[in-house]
């Protein structure tokens, strides 16, 4: 019998940012921890710079899609995603958003300028991992209500190492991107 932890998370951005990759990492982390998992992903034409949306459901579900007002959280690789996909969130849901500006979205919103972090590291294609690293920071306020991500920074590092096995340079760059996001403090 697999352990039960129910989480519904929306991950969104635009094609080319690597939404699918971090969805995959989170799904693999869930499997590694013995949870049941469902994701639904956007492939095809939208991957050419269009809006890309992933649904991630951990726990006892049979449908791959999240209904409006059901999501625990949103990971937004573009700030415009909050307007587009904020309707999925429950009251009191959390948002991790990539934006240079403060957000007034009204949820538990945590902002990181992941574009700037990745540019500074001269790894502009790593925005996805930077924000994921940031989202994995331990947060007391979310833990209390049992709404945090279902996995830890160490879990994702382990999954990343397995996914990019044999791709030494890429793995190093990816780990360092993840760590750079994790190192950013919450404002």
């Amino acid at each position: 019998m697999k352990r039960s932890v129910n989480r519904q998370i929306v991950i969104s951005g635009v094609g080319g940012q690597g939404v699918l990759f971090i969805t995959r990492l989170l799904a693999e982390a869930a499997i590694m921890k013995g949870f049941r998992v469902f994701t639904s992903e956007t492939h095809g034409m939208a991957q050419r710079g269009g809006t890309v949306l992933s649904h991630l459901k951990i726990g006892d579900f049979s449908s791959p899609l999240i209904r409006p007002f059901q999501a625990d959280g949103l990971i937004a690789l573009k700030s415009e995603s909050i307007l587009q996909h904020g309707a999925f969130l429950k009251k009191g849901g959390w948002i991790f958003v990539n934006s240079p500006k403060k957000s007034d979205a009204g949820f538990n919103t945590y902002v990181i300028d992941a574009d700037a972090v990745s540019l500074k590291a001269e790894n502009p294609k790593s925005v996805n991992l930077v924000i994921l690293g940031f989202a994995l920071k331990e947060r007391k306020d979310l833990e209390v209500e049992g709404k945090s991500l279902f996995c830890t920074f160490e879990d994702i590092k382990q999954v990343l190492a397995a996914q990019l096995k044999g791709k030494g340079k890429m793995l190093d760059a990816s780990l360092s991107a993840l760590e750079s996001g994790y190192a950013v403090s919450i404002k």
């Binding site: 994701t39 710079g49 269009g50 899609l65 587009q84 309707a87 540019l119």
Partner: protein, 596 residues
């Protein structure tokens, strides 16, 4: 596993010896995963990308006639291309098991139509299985082979986007045996049947269907045993996955019987009569056409698409199912109205060679009619360089159609067709020959980026390698075009703007006077060359104060790396996105985009 990986895993666990496909969203990863798993485990199965779905179907079908288990996969519109062999294969039947996987795309997310492949199964008279999840799709491969071999009939598996592109935790099983040897027993009255024998085969097919409509393993399943009511809900495919979860959330699980249909066609006869006998009202939720619903002949008890209770278009989203269940069960629920914010429209990648080709075409034939085709370059419509997109290969035949339509006009428009290399091979060649025979004055630009880009960079017949990267023969596009009888055929690099624009101009003026002219725009796909780790000289560009904010570059070039700063009223380069192709320096009318 991704749904498509689960299907591939299922095929190999069932000992599928031949798998063929032509790429198309949402089916593309089925063959790609088949190859990956097969290579990793050194399984002796044959797998290949075929030139189109018809050819893919016929290769796999011959394999099953020789007694092997085989499969062909494609997207729903691909099945249109393969429909000719499908209809006949249903009559002739199979020896080894044969599974036809046709992935539908309700929405549509990445397709021209929302057509329901289950209707094609009905037309061909073959059974079709409708999975609700990656795990069930994998199980249905096993059921499908058993069914196919029990009745010597092709079986269709019809997953939808939400099955193909869902990921689920699934345990892999043991691989099947690949020891079976191919045996072809000659039987011309079956494998080469003339009309007289076809009639006999059709009669036999009807008898098979009668039995399949009573086949135990694919009968509809009542999911909630305890529920009893005079109302019932019938679901199939991913609608079943949504409905299960929502009925539990709404507290209807123990109240209203929920039946999941495994095999929408032929619908089990006993099930149809049990509905009539046991229920006053049944709600049918399925995607996309009312296939199950139409077979429930007592219309008085059915709610569904035919009476407008369920929408007949688009994907059935879980929130819509929630609303339907509440209405059906008489539960009160506030209607949820969500203001949908428009998302970003897709665009060609920064550095995509197609953008450069379209820019040249608009310069060479500014008032032309631009017919185009299926692929990334469909996005040329954002640039005003694509006027028509019908189906695979139609860029060329529609160009011919426009030529004939305007033939008697005093001033005929220039007609420029664009088609990708893979699409040209798929369905463009017969059309091109037709334009030679009819001496059609039009320009064809073959956008040769040496890959099938939109679906995930699968090889084309000119790539020189196959599905697992193995070396194969390569077909020379120039020689092929010349072989079709085209007299003007020149190749250029679209990213060398200064040479490429005159080349397209030359072709357009040739076409005006003499007949079909072909330009091969050859430059590798940027995604492909990045993946291959190819290093190219990066040209760093910037925008000078000469920029007047006219937005010409934004409207006519639409590169994601050129942004418009609304505060400063001028264009800016985004260094995160710029690929360094340098094409844009030739675009600005004020020469404000410069090399730094």
């Amino acid at each position: 596993m991704l749904g498509n990986e689960a299907i591939a895993q299922g095929l190999l666990e069932e000992g599928c010896s031949v798998a063929t496909s032509y790429p198309g969203t949402p089916a593309s990863e089925i063959l790609a995963s088949f190859v990956k798993i097969k290579e990793k485990n050194s399984l002796p199965a044959h797998s290949q990308w075929a030139i189109n779905e018809k050819v893919a179907f016929e290769i796999a079908y011959a394999g099953c006639i020789a007694g092997l288990r085989t499969a062909v996969s494609m997207k729903q519109v691909g099945l249109n291309v393969a429909s000719d062999p499908l209809m006949s294969a249903a009559y002739m039947g199979t020896k080894g098991g044969f599974v036809v996987i046709s992935a539908d795309d309700p929405g549509p997310h990445s397709s021209q139509t929302e057509q329901d492949s289950r209707l094609m199964a009905m037309m061909a008279k073959i059974p079709v299985l409708d999975p609700d999840s990656p795990a069930q799709a994998k199980d249905m491969i096993s059921i499908g082979y058993d069914l196919s071999e029990a009745f010597e009939i092709p079986v269709m598996l019809r997953p939808t986007t939400r099955v193909c592109h869902s990921r689920q935790d699934i345990e892999a099983g043991k691989f099947g045996s690949f020891e079976k040897k191919a045996v072809f027993e000659k039987n011309p009255s079956r494998w080469a049947a003339t009309p007289k024998f076809r009639f006999r085969l059709h009669t036999e097919l009807e008898k098979k269907l009668e039995k399949i409509a009573a086949y135990e393993k694919t009968a509809p399943v009542k999911l909630n045993r305890k529920a009893a009511s005079k109302k019932a809900v019938i679901v199939s495919g991913v609608a079943a996955a949504h409905t299960k979860e929502i009925m539990k959330d709404l507290g209807l699980w123990d109240k209203i019987p929920l039946f999941q249909v495994i095999q929408p066609y032929p619908l089990h006869r006993k099930f149809i009569s049990s509905l009539r006998a046991g229920y006053d009202e049944v709600l049918v939720i399925e995607e996309t056409a009312p296939v199950i619903e139409m077979q429930i002949t007592d219309r008085r008890i059915v709610k569904g698409k035919l009476d407008g209770f369920v929408s007949g278009v688009g994907e059935i989203e879980p929130e819509a199912i929630e609303q339907m269940l509440c209405d059906f069960a008489g539960l009160k629920k506030e209607k949820i109205a969500i203001a949908q914010q428009p998302g970003r429209r897709p665009t060609l990648c920064a550095g995509c060679p197609h953008r450069a080709s379209f820019f040249a075409i608009k310069k060479a034939a500014p008032k032309g009619i631009y017919t185009s085709d299926i692929g990334c370059y469909t996005l040329g419509l954002n640039l005003g360089a694509v006027d028509t997109v019908l189906c695979m290969g139609a860029a060329i035949s529609q160009a011919e159609g426009f030529y004939h339509a305007f033939k008697n006009d005093g001033k005929r428009p220039d007609i420029v067709a664009t088609i990708g290399d893979s699409t040209f091979f798929h369905a463009g060649i017969p059309a091109l020959i037709d334009t030679v025979v009819q001496n059609v004055g039009f320009t064809l630009v073959i956008l040769d980026n040496r890959t099938t880009a939109m679906t995930g960079n699968q090889p084309t017949p000119s790539s020189g390698f196959g599905a697992s990267g193995e070396t194969l023969e390569s077909v020379d596009i120039e020689a092929l075009v010349r072989g079709c009888g085209v007299k003007f055929c020149k190749t250029g690099d679209p990213c060398k703007t200064k040479e490429f624009i005159p080349l397209v101009k030359e072709a357009v003026s040739y076409a005006r006077e003499k007949g079909p002219a072909v330009v091969i725009a050859r430059h590798p796909c940027i995604i492909d060359s990045r993946r291959a780790g190819e290093k190219t000289e990066k040209i760093i560009v910037g925008i000078t104060d000469a920029c007047e904010g006219c937005e010409y570059c934004i409207k006519h070039f639409e590169c994601p790396a050129i942004l418009f700063d609304n505060d400063k009223k001028r264009a800016e380069i985004d260094p995160l996105l710029c690929s360094g192709c340098g094409v844009c320096v030739n675009v600005c009318p004020k020469k404000a985009i410069v090399i730094r």
